[in-house]
């Protein structure tokens, strides 16, 4: 009798530490819950094929979500990541188109593709630099600064291409969107590796520590000798480079560079992931973002199966996303209220 109670207490203690006050635990629980729900309601859901396509779809968005997460962590916001990615995809695609001829050997094509990725990284970093200068040094409100740059990037791309999409790349490019390594989609491996790198960067490097400090309280950080302007700028540059990595996936998957690919929807989803993972200035973990992304993708794929037969269901899905975002915002409000009361 006594033993059982102590076990119950242990469970209670575990619950209190890992679920009641920990967003990661909550999300894992939610993930398990919705997975079980979809397995029970939809026989086609729990298959290798479903998970393969899920891993593929979540990676593109997940990398962008990490980029936005970093900007939120340092006390800002970034809604220009997708516009930046589109411009980077155009740079990469144009470099490849300009340097690949009919007589190129596969080896040369691979070299050109890596050159293209380098171009994409430069464009992404430059975009991030512009954001970083405006937010970090000019102290512009981050939402506005990135709203401006988002329009600028999209505008430049529209001006250069006349609003048309650019395609006609060698088939090797497709590898970045649909290729597989060890049976896992390459984009997912990229997403996973990036998550790990960012995790290590935030947890074990000085730069990561400074990012947390700057986000938590910029004035205090400044007086402690942290160069907050530079930390902010570098964070935005990292976010820009993550956008370029997304660009390689987008280019590989769609085999074309578009100026309006996923602009509003991706902004919605990246901020959604950040809200779901409870990230705010100075607080949050990239692992939570990863799990949150997984949960959202499971939800989306499950909805797709469930609503397959309903007429006009795609529109209804938009409705559900909007509703879920608002619900999570309210949930965060109550979590904040409780946190303040606890302290």
């Amino acid at each position: 009798m006594e033993k059982k109670q102590s076990f119950l207490e242990k469970v209670k203690e575990f619950w209190k530490v890992n679920v009641a006050k920990n967003r990661t635990g909550q999300l894992v629980l939610v993930l398990i819950g919705i997975t079980i729900f979809f397995i029970l309601t939809e026989p086609k859901f729990f298959r290798v094929k479903t998970y393969e396509s899920m891993l593929l779809q979540m990676s593109e968005l997940g990398i962008l979500a990490i980029a936005v997460f970093l900007c939120i962590l340092v006390g800002g916001l970034n809604i220009s990541v997708m516009a930046n990615a589109n411009l980077a995809a155009l740079a990469m695609g144009s470099f490849i188109l300009a340097n690949v001829t009919e007589s190129s050997t596969p080896q040369q094509i691979w070299l050109t593709i890596f050159g293209g990725i380098f171009c994409a990284l430069i464009i992404g970093a430059l975009g991030g630099l512009l954001n970083g200068l405006m937010v970090g040094y000019a102290k512009m409100p981050p939402l506005l600064a990135t709203l401006g740059t988002a329009t600028l990037f999209t505008g430049i791309q529209k001006g250069l291409t006349g609003g048309e999409s650019v395609w006609g790349y060698p088939p090797q490019v497709e590898y970045f969107g649909n290729g597989k390594v060890l049976g896992l989609p390459l984009p997912f491996i990229m997403f996973f590796v990036i998550t790990m790198i960012i995790f290590i960067m935030l947890k074990f490097t000085r730069f990561g520590y400074k990012v947390y400090m700057t986000g938590a309280n910029q004035t205090t950080a400044k007086f402690s000798g942290i160069p907050t302007e530079r930390v902010t700028m570098f964070t935005y540059i990292v976010a820009g480079m993550l956008s370029s990595l997304t660009a390689t996936i987008v280019l590989g998957r769609t085999m074309s560079a578009n100026s309006d690919y996923g602009l509003l929807t991706y902004v919605l989803f990246t901020i959604f992931v950040a809200v779901v993972s409870g990230s705010r200035a100075g607080f949050g973990s990239v692992i939570t973002v990863f799990i949150g992304m997984f949960a959202l993708q499971t939800l989306q794929t499950g909805f797709n199966y469930l609503l397959q037969t309903v007429k006009g269901s795609t529109y209804f899905r938009d409705f559900i996303w909007g509703l879920l975002l608002i619900i999570f915002l309210i949930v965060n409000y109550y979590a904040n209220v409780r946190r303040v009361e606890d302290n």
């Binding site: 405006m134 000019a138 102290k139 512009m140 409100p141 939402l143 506005l144 600064a145 709203l147 401006g148 740059t149 988002a150 329009t151 600028l152 990037f153 999209t154 505008g155 430049i156 529209k158 001006g159 291409t161 006349g162 609003g163 309006d260 602009l263 509003l264 929807t265 902004v267 919605l268 901020i271 809200v275 007429k311 006009g312 529109y315 209804f316 899905r317 938009d318 409705f319 559900i320 996303w321 909007g322 509703l323 879920l324 975002l325 608002i326 915002l329 309210i330 409000y333």
Partner: protein, 320 residues
């Protein structure tokens, strides 16, 4: 002191507008005509109304993107309701009904924001797909409803017409709507206590709370105006047949900022906003006259926006 600085900014905008017009006119004399003026005004009517909708939110220091969705929702509901009732009168009842729906939607947004202390941008990010999803879902079900009789022929109602280079240009009737809302908004923002309260909250929220302003009431007021003005813009847009506004929220936002409302909140006038919209409209027109591909329009707007926002930020910092 502050009053003078705002006025001087408006003067600056006005001279910029004139200088710009003269510059284009020197390059292409065809630009100087009443027809061009009417065209610029007509192209910008809906933007002006949307900018008025957004102005109070910007004065509060927020960014809202749901106003375009609210405009569509209010217009859609008013149209469906009146079509089902078999209404055959003029357009004014459509306006009134849409305004009622718009205010209801706006108040819902304002209530959510003030009750749960949400960020305006984040909530509007959720509101937009929610409203659009609902709209497209219902309109895909309710297929086959005709155009409302009240809106037919509205886009060809002119106050004055003149002979232009190609065809006829005219001053559209909906200019009356713009003038009325301009006067209404100007009086409200400048001479009434709730209007001044918006500036107070935008300048410094915590001071405003301590002074005794009811934040919740102010948010409800601001978003009721947003809903009402968005509805007016939506009906006007649908009457003019000027197409979808789904992706134009940034353009509206940029024009409000260029019009003198600052990115930090607490500033902005109706007159300045009007000048800002006209300036952006003139720039678009100028691209055509200067034979620059219109595809570069967004990039230009982005650069101008960044320039204005940077200037404001630096000035704001030197003031503090």
């Amino acid at each position: 002191m502050k009053k003078i600085s705002i006025n001087s900014y408006e003067l600056f905008l006005f001279f910029l507008l004139v200088a710009f017009a003269v510059m284009i006119g020197l390059i292409n004399p065809a630009f100087f005509s009443l027809g061009t003026l009417f065209d610029v005004v007509r192209n910008q009517i809906v933007y002006i109304l949307f900018a008025f909708a957004l102005l109070p939110v910007v004065i509060l220091g927020g960014v809202d993107i749901s106003f375009v969705a609210i405009a569509s929702l209010a217009t859609f509901l008013a149209r469906i309701a009146l079509t089902n009732l078999g209404y055959e009168g003029g357009i004014w009842l459509v306006y009134i009904l849409a305004i009622v729906f718009g205010i209801a939607a706006g108040m819902a947004v304002g209530w959510l924001i003030s009750t749960f202390k949400l960020k305006i941008f984040e909530l509007s990010l959720g509101m937009t797909p929610l409203i659009y999803g609902l709209l497209t879902f219902f309109s895909s079900i309710m297929s086959g409803h005709g155009r409302l009789q009240a809106l037919v022929g509205w886009n060809m109602k002119w106050l004055v017409t003149v002979q232009a280079v190609v065809g006829r240009s005219g001053l559209h009737v909906s200019v009356i709507v713009v003038v009325l809302t301009f006067i209404g908004m100007h009086i409200f923002l400048r001479y009434t206590t709730p209007g001044r309260a918006i500036y107070a909250v935008g300048c410094d929220k915590s001071v405003a709370i301590r002074t005794g302003f009811d934040i919740k009431k102010i948010y409800l007021t601001v978003f009721s105006i947003l809903g009402a003005m968005a509805a007016i813009a939506g009906v006007t847009s649908s009457g003019l047949g000027s197409g979808s506004f789904e992706d134009k929220f940034f353009k509206v936002y940029a024009t409000v900022i260029i019009g003198g409302a600052t990115v930090h909140g607490g500033k902005g006038t109706v007159f300045g906003t009007l000048l800002g919209v006209l300036l952006v409209g003139l720039i678009n027109q100028a691209l055509v006259y200067l034979r620059i591909p219109t595809a570069w329009g967004d990039a230009f707007l982005g650069v101008i926006f960044i320039a204005f926002a940077t200037y404001q930020t630096i000035e704001n910092r030197s003031n503090n």
